[in-house]
Every structure is written in structure tokens, then in C-alpha cells.
């Protein structure tokens, strides 16, 4: 190892490995690595880490089977969507709301008429008595 020049730090070696160094720095790093066994060893360890990451398993199974929960969520969403979004169901609900409204209005009118008739029927008697 030579001590009369600056050793690239690990970040610099990382940039070297990733091909991100400007050409003059790359040339200088190449020259340094040719002379410095320590830096070659650090670069080797970094290469090993990067290779290990690239070779990491592409697939990892979940610790438990997730399908039953996923299926349950899908079925629940389908049921909710069917209930809310069916046009015929929505139209039926609208018709039912209108029918209930009409029945309430009709009942109110009938009650009002009956009350009016009752009051009118009594008024003359009450007026005659007073």
C-alpha cells in the first residue's frame, strides 16, 4: 500500500463500481487500485455485497397463506358493489322511496280533511251555543 496519495472512500468506490465517476477520476482510481491492495480488498468486499443483492431470491413465500383473506376481501367488495351499483336495484329503491313519500302525503291530506270536516261539523253547533 502507498501512503502518499488519498485512498478513495467507500462511497467513491461505490461510484466507481456503478460507473458514475468522471473519466479523470476513474483513471486516477484505476491507477490507485493497481497499487493499493487495501483498496482492492475494500472494492472486492463491496462487489461481493452488490453481487449478493443481485443474486437474492426473486421469490419469497409469505409466512402464511394469504389467499383466504384476499378472497374474502374480493368477495366482500363484489357483494358491496352489487348491492350499491345495480341500476335496477337503485331504481327500485327510488320507486319505494316515492311510494312511501306519496303514502305519507296521502295520509296527511286525509287526516287534515277529516280534521277539517270534524271542525266544520262542530263549528256551527259551537257557534250556535255561544
Amino acid at each position: 500500500m502507498t501512503y502518499d496519495e488519498t485512498h478513495p472512500d467507500l462511497d467513491g468506490l461505490g461510484d466507481y463500481l456503478d460507473g458514475l465517476l468522471a473519466s479523470d477520476r476513474k483513471v486516477a482510481t484505476d491507477a490507485h487500485l493497481a497499487r493499493c491492495t487495501d483498496c482492492r480488498a475494500r472494492l472486492g468486499a463491496l462487489r461481493l455485497l452488490v453481487a449478493r443483492a443481485a443474486d437474492a431470491p426473486r421469490e419469497l413465500a409469505p409466512e402464511a397463506d394469504l389467499w383466504p383473506a384476499i378472497r374474502g376481501r374480493i368477495e366482500a367488495r363484489r357483494a358491496a358493489a352489487l348491492f350499491v351499483a345495480t341500476p335496477a336495484r337503485a331504481a327500485g329503491a327510488r320507486r319505494r322511496r316515492l311510494a312511501v313519500g306519496a303514502a305519507i302525503v296521502g295520509a296527511a291530506v286525509a287526516a287534515s280533511s277529516a280534521l277539517t270536516a270534524l271542525l266544520l261539523g262542530r263549528a256551527p253547533a259551537g257557534g250556535g251555543a255561544g
Partner: protein, 166 residues
Amino acid sequence: MTSGAREGPDGPDGLDAFVRRAQAGDVDAYEAIYRAHVGRVHALCRRMAGDPDRAAELTQEVFVHAWEQLGHFRGGVVLATWLHRLTLSLTLEQAPAVTAALSPRERSDFERAIDALAPAARTTFVLHDVEGYKHAEIAHLTGADEGTIRAQLHRARRRLMEMLSG
């Protein structure tokens, strides 16, 4: 790498027919798609989340979301790639909230060390060194600038080398 993912074909299992059936509402056909792809989806969720429970939640989320979006899936894109993009989008949006506490003993030292990284460093390391994305692609995906991505990658590698040499 254009799509970012180190992608493979859908495999010799001929999932096209299952995709068409699932698009028509067949949940049993969708299970076949789940079984074929869950390992790949979960691997990304697991490494991005750094936590097994959160990873399981994210994997569920991906497959429920994919079911809802399956009608938009068209031939010309490999299903694995489509699912990978969906997984990446959801994990970047929802995954790295905290540094994992302690990952299970059965995980390899390497995977446990990834779990122990700080969230931003873990995301960058997983996307760059495991998944093969470039700095510019990660910057685009995460909204960070490239200098930040480089710094996070350096931090992650330094930390991993410390942990794995100790």
C-alpha cells in the same frame, strides 16, 4: 433497465386463459394467478417493508387492488411486469414507515441486515442493488433527486458492510 424490474416471463404455466377468466369475474382463476405470482410480489413487499406483518398486509393489498384493476390489463405487457409495477407503486406509497425492530431468526443474515436499514436507505438499496433500477429511475419513482439517491445508496452499503462483517 427500462421497466426497472429484473423481469421474467409469466412462465410456462399459460396464465393467459386464467387472466381472461379472472377478468370475467372468475375468482378461482384469479387464485391460480395469485399462486403463480405471490412469491415475486411478496419478495418485493417483504424487502421494502422490512417487517413481516406489514409485508403480508401489502401483499394482500396488491392482489386486491390487482383484482380491481385487472379489467385494465391488456396483452402486450407481461403480467409479472404489470404486477411488479403495481406492487412497487403501492409499496412506495405505503411501505417504509419505520425501521424494522427485529426480523425473524429464520431469515438469512443478509435479509435481516436489509430489514435493519433505515427506511429510505432500505428502499434505495432494494430498488438499486436487488431490483436493478438505475439512480435516475429511483429518483423519478420516489420524487427524490439523484444526489440524494446516491447518498442513500452509499449509506445503505456502508451500513450493510458493517453489519455483515461484524
